[in-house]
Symmetry: D2
């Protein structure tokens, strides 16, 4: 098969991260055809041109729709702002292109459902960039849970704490604007935590939640005036999974001190596991069978015994970084397209995540438990 | 003032812990009159007699009510099983004795309210043994929050995880029996976490909660038959404090791997603090004013710069233990009685804790938010 | 047997710590006769008198030699400054009293050897207060090593870092005066680390060492003038044990940031253990037999499955404190006297520790390897 | 300037790591010309050919000397086994090529001195791959020390512990053969630690050291017979730096449990820093000016406020990996060549590292302190 051609939309940081991954994936993973970096699009054509040079794309365009007609482009890679994910993904799928879209899939459930529906019937690969689950230790954690190494799961508790909006001095940006960002902490952070829960244990049946905006107004950098923040700083949910298991989530973008505090613990009848993204090369594991005088959590360092680590480094404990997770994601995408392997997380999962986010917001507004309706997706995660 | 005489009810472990504290408190803290260990009561008078010798009490009795008439006894010290806290405390107060009762105050709100009412009007000291807040670092944490060192508080998240009931092989004991224990994880663990929240930030206005029994039946050791567990293994709550602040709680007695996982974090606009009882000599503190290249949580080791630590050890970082917290509690009690200083946590706080526990159970049963009615206590914590 | 009578010399902090332990030991440990706190001595008889009241002794004296003739005193408990350990211990042994002396045993090897010799032939119990090894987890660590759980030991690395002299503003005190303190960091800190090494793996055969005084002069508080510091701030040694094993030690009283950094690791062919006194309730254990994908250090929390912990608390992970270690030490002492069980560490060990300290100083002075001569002690640790 | 052409020797893991870095460096760092991957050499020409395809090189060769004559090759990139570093580097320099050689520079001081001498006079860039110092937090640590943020440095303690040779079952490989590997743990691990010490504090004046082979014979995989191991498993050194500062080092390849335990601490009169490569995204910093009740080590997470991190990720705490350090190293190399900026660590540093390694071995053999003779290098680090 010929090398797959990528058309990238967006020249910001995530665009650069994708380019790094595209350029190194075939060197890291043997048996992978190096992708072809065909064209990069940016509304500012000068910027697009400069990005093409610095990121290593063959050409550039000031109009992203030009990628849709480009026969050399097999994959539309969307790193544009959140509110453009929906129209761009839709157009790409309709043009018969595979889609690789950064999260969140859309601003609301309706858009996400439409995208999932179109994607489902397209025969194309539809990928969302929710890359924390590609971590070798998270893949291993899933194995551990699935294999019953911690017995029957008993409960899940997850948090995603960051502090990028904790200061009152952080101005009003598109992230505070519902029409551009959708929800707040839920979209930025919660989407990852929800995806993590689905990946490890399955999806919610019902939940009660609460959303709060702590800093209710911020200075609009363009006007200099205070402007009301339109989405939540903190979201919390008490969840019952489809399996009956209790799960709890806390999400905050005003958790002073945390930089990437995606943490979770799964307790089981035979053990437990704990993870913290700020120490992404460590997985904590407890085995309930240990005799009391020798009982303790062990801290496992990522190494070549865990999925995909060995492609980066032959020695354990040397450490992967966040960008390496994106390389694994791109490898999965390429394999999905070349070999027809199902890519996860796909647009169906993007929709499921969006549904859970919406249910938390709804529960908060109604001050009532909300049941999830999974009939719209049809398939279990 | 003459040395205060103590009459201890209960010769189990907590009785021993109290005795250790009573015997060492005046050596640890200067200016404290050593209490007089007058009498110890146990329904089994032989056991009482042996306990008197090993714990250093002057005499013993097989009938606890005998302590009520003993003129040498100033304080009734209740280390009996949970369901006896109410009748014993009530009798002690009515007999004009100060009361020092292990938590929980009672099995339900009605009993607790009656006790708080009687205590409030008695002129006596009424103390509950909820000793985690006497930790020098917790006292310091309260100072840090109160002094605005972390700015305006933004949110609280707390957990109390242990695994003493995690195994299916743990038999049915009085802890599973609602008539003897009241609630389950809430009474054992949640009471401490709720008291901690009150101590640091104040009390709830409303909440939505969920209680679950994961292991629904256990083998009754006496009958050998499976018996239905009557109270919860896991409790969770999404809380709005009276100040409007969001607080979250998770409590579990089936959290495999945890031995004393009382953890909390308070996020503020200017910083945050974090604590974990399993590392009770450490307090983590984050200051939002740090410049980015030097920003990080600091780990403060307990030392003589923190309240009460210096009485135990002149050098920082050498470490206090759980029993030392009980010595501080007893010192507070003696000071409360001798100098009329208000003792905290008192029976009012015992009632407040019971109310929150009840509200979580009610919310879980009704699947609805529940408002707290604080008119019954009259005073804020 | 009648309760053993204690005569305490020294009313400073360590005296208080001993008193706390003496008062609570029989409550903590069943089957132990409570010791009788007979008399306390201090050169200042008013202070002695006040101490007797606050510490709970029956009487006091302004002249410590009075304790030697007191028939009620069975044990002379020496908490006086370092340079008095030798004359007091000697006098006590000659008076036929058991001795319980805080470390270091003496200021030099000659004094220590004389004491060990007298003690050896006395038939009395001679105990040194080097209490870190009584930690339940250290007792367990010794079991782990002795039982071969980490295979054949391969190497030892130990550090004892504190920062109590790190600031140039710390004045010249007796600790800087060789005639009063003997060596510096070696006596204060190194003695513990050397004892720990002996306890766990055995004693040195030869070593090369280096001692340094970083802050060479300090202000004498009495004269206001700078005065030359007479002993070392930092000591280091590369050691070969009698077993041939390599051991390394670093000791510093100017290790800014550390408060009680007694740390060691033992590597073996089958695993390893690691300990840090600042987290004295945790022992880290690695088992080389773990399969790679599940390999990691486990963190064991102290609990009733470890020696002596259960006497303090029935629940694991609740934490002991530094003073609890002294209670175990006193229990060992009482058992040693009552049942003739050999007490460790005794004056022989005090001598051995002194010999290693002296060898490090000699090696540093001569810039050469030094062999240890153990013929003087006769017995292996 | 035209893109710099690279000729890579070696198709093993390190060759792949270099290729990944070469391919992504210009995408990560703006303003960098992407290097041209000209040719890859391997004695097995089929393997060379396959590597060229998978690593993205234009051509391949079965004879590395062919690269010397290739006018498209500007840089000879040496990822061949240790004993070939010397002849390849020498040939490359003599052919007028820049050299980028993996550590160690050579098998002994003589070879290293010759290489340094030739390199010094060549006008070419000569780089050694000792990449731990390119870590943003290590760069920051150097700034912290140099700026006096921890006051005057007082002492250094460093360890590099791994366990890749801890098992007796690890066979005899080239690493155990002095003619192929030179020294053992010193060359593999010690070289990094020595370079780190030089980078942060400067070089030794004298030292006393000890080297040991714990597992003295291993099974030779080719013959099936036991074969004597020819170099050390453990090396230790007590060092006095040129500044007079004490430094200590411990290096072990049989430290069961450690996977990448490059750890160091620097104590100063005003603070201290601590680092552990297994948590390479964390730097611990202590400021002696903190008031006692708020004193503690802070844990700084790597972020865009630290050198070079921002090129990989705009958000702090998300984590770099070991391969990212190689990208920074390659950027430094390209900048060194293009702008004539001095590259560190260069062959002079390679020689200095070799001298320290040799001094430790000499000291161990002679059981005596050894002085370092730096006249051979002429320049301070």
């Amino acid at each position: 098969m010929a090398n797959l051609g990528f058309g990238l939309i967006g020249t910001g940081f995530m665009g650069r991260t994708h380019a790094i991954a595209l350029r190194s994936v075939a060197t890291v993973f043997s048996g992978i055809q190096p992708p072809r970096l065909v064209s990069v699009a940016d509304a500012d054509s000068d910027r697009a041109s400069r990005a093409a040079r610095s990121l290593g794309f063959e050409r550039s365009t000031g109009d992203w729709t030009g990628l849709l007609d480009d026969p050399a482009v097999d994959v539309i890679d969307i790193c544009a702002p959140n509110h453009l994910h929906y129209p761009m993904s839709l157009a790409a799928l309709k043009a018969g292109k595979h889609v690789y879209c950064e999260k969140p899939l859309a601003l609301g459930v309706d858009e996400a459902a439409e995208l999932a529906s179109v994607a489902r019937n397209s025969g194309l690969v539809h990928a969302i960039g929710l890359n924390y689950t590609t971590n070798p230790l998270i893949q291993e954690a899933r194995e551990i849970v699935a294999a019953g190494e911690i017995g029957d799961p008993v409960s899940f508790t997850g948090r995603y704490f960051e502090d990028y909006m904790a200061s009152r001095d952080v101005p009003f940006t598109w992230r505070c604007d519902r029409s551009l960002a959708g929800s707040g902490a839920l979209a930025d952070l919660g989407s990852h935590l929800i995806n993590m829960l689905h990946f490890l244990l399955g999806r919610p049946r019902r939940l009660t939640g609460d959303c709060r905006t702590v800093i209710t107004a911020r200075r609009d950098a363009s006007t200099g005036r205070q402007r009301a923040v339109e989405n939540e700083d903190i979201a919390r949910a008490i969840i019952e999974l489809e399996t009956g298991l209790p799960a709890t989530m806390e999400i905050s973008r005003v958790a002073t001190g945390y930089k990437c505090g995606l943490q979770f613990e799964i307790f089981g009848t035979g053990g437990s596991i704990a993870f913290d993204q700020e120490r992404m090369n460590e997985l904590r594991l407890y085995d309930a069978e240990q005799k009391p005088a020798r009982a303790g959590y062990k801290t496992i360092l990522a190494g070549p015994a865990h999925p995909d680590y060995g492609a980066f480094c032959p020695a354990p404990g040397h450490g992967l970084g966040i960008n390496d997770l994106k390389v694994i994601e791109v490898r999965n995408l390429l394999r999905g397209i070349e070999h027809g392997e199902p890519f996860q997380p796909d647009f169906e999962e993007g929709l499921r995540v969006q549904q859970v986010m919406a249910a938390i917001e709804q529960s908060s507004a109604e001050r009532a438990w909300v049941d999830l309706d999974w009939s719209v997706t049809g398939r279990r995660p």
